[in-house]
């Protein structure tokens, strides 16, 4: 028994020890390479941008180093995110010349979980690469939510005109982060998105996207749509999001819909809303009809903490 335990334990230590050593050595080598890679990336960023400005691509310093494809992908993703007005075709050509598109597909197929999600996200941040058709249908149904999100973004990046259909077809309610990433992609692709049809849609995810667009672009004319959402009792979370969006736009908080929405809140939720309104700068007089007498006193005290009292002697 002792001998079995001994050998079993030693095998466990040996196996995991070998794996640890491999990771340690790889990590140590990566640490040593990092300063030089940073320098090459910096130089290559300049070379890449110069090539874009002059419309004549030039070889990049980072193409002849270890992990060249990964570094090139990250470089192009950063440049593509930071600039607009440059045609994406030269960037795509550069990626295809160095086989980055095929490398990415291999990375996605070979890895799992968060590593796969990272590779997909990187793919989604790059300009569209038509040679590698984004056949990411299988990953749209991956058990990992991170992989599903990243796959969705790859699809939207390649076919932005399908964005609204894809968002609408998500069976679960999309989170703030997910909707925000979709919006970021749509802005990158410079697609005009009308907010009104989104707010009026029956699909919760499209309504969420509409709210985010209104918030992001500070669309003050969206009052009507927001009030309609606030009045709706089907989705309390969406109503609250619409109310907070209205506050963020510093719009007047009047009307039965808003009063009724606030009445449905718990005491804790009302406290949170009060704090939010005070931070956004609503004077007590502007919102007095929304609160009871006791709440009004509390709101005034809250607003007072943003002011100083002038004492005349």
């Amino acid at each position: 028994m002792n001998e079995w335990c001994f050998w079993g334990y030693m095998m466990l230590l040996a196996g995991s020890g070998v794996w640890l050593t491999v990771k340690l050595v790889a990590g140590w080598m990566q640490q040593r390479r990092r300063p030089r890679q940073q320098l090459l990336l910096q130089r290559s960023a300049g070379e890449l941008v110069q090539g874009l400005l002059e419309e004549s691509p030039r070889p990049l310093s980072v193409e002849h180093t270890v992990h060249a494809q990964q570094l090139l992908a990250e470089l192009v993703a950063s440049v593509h995110a930071s600039l607009y007005g440059c045609a994406p075709a030269p960037l795509t050509r550069k990626l295809e010349q160095r086989g980055v598109d095929r490398w990415l597909v291999r990375q996605v197929k070979r890895s799992r979980g968060l590593k796969r999600a990272w590779a997909l996200k990187l793919w989604g941040d790059l300009p569209p690469m038509p040679r590698v058709e984004p056949a990411c249908e299988e990953w749209l149904f991956d058990p990992s939510p991170e992989v599903r999100l990243s796959a969705l973004l790859v699809r939207i990046s390649a076919y932005p005109q399908d964005a609204l259909r894809l968002v609408a077809s998500c069976d679960k309610p999309m989170t703030l982060c997910e909707v925000s990433e979709v919006l970021h992609l749509l802005r990158r692709r410079l697609l005009p998105i009308a907010y009104q049809p989104l707010l009026e849609s029956r699909n919760r995810n499209l309504q969420r996207l509409g709210l985010l667009i209104v918030h992001e672009f500070s669309i003050e004319e969206a009052d009507e749509g927001l009030l309609r959402l606030i009045a709706s009792t089907e989705d309390a979370e969406l109503s609250m999001a619409a109310l907070y969006t209205l506050c963020a736009l510093h719009r007047p908080l009047r009307g039965k819909a808003i009063r009724q929405c606030i009445e449905r809140l718990t005491a804790a939720e009302r406290g949170v809303l009060m704090r939010h309104m005070a931070r956004e700068g609503y004077a007590p007089a502007q919102v007095k009809r929304l609160w009871s007498e006791r709440q009004r006193v509390r709101y005034e005290a809250l607003v007072e903490t943003y002011k100083t009292t002038l004492v005349w002697s």
Partner: protein
Amino acid sequence: MARVLIYSADRLLTELVRVALQGLGAEIRSAESYERFEQLAARMVFDLVLVVGVAPFWNGRELFRRVRPRPLHKPEIYVLAWHQADETVLGLLESGVDQYMTFPLNLARLRGKVITALER
């Protein structure tokens, strides 16, 4: 010869901006850290300062005092950042920033604004 200072902790963005401003006939310097920025600002007089990010204006470091020491000379300060909130932009403009541009940048537009600033 005009002098331009780029202050950015992100080397990649520094390089993008530097390349965009090449060929303007200006001397371009860059600072990655606040200490380096202070050294350069103390030694040289700049006509334009490009700051990438808003942290130097939010954290209480006296960026303006370092770069605008003499009352008669007032270099322009441009800020390039990712923030889009009105409050952020207003706060920067109120504190004396001359121009605020969000990422993603249009290099041609940036170049045009810098040329106008330097001609002034």
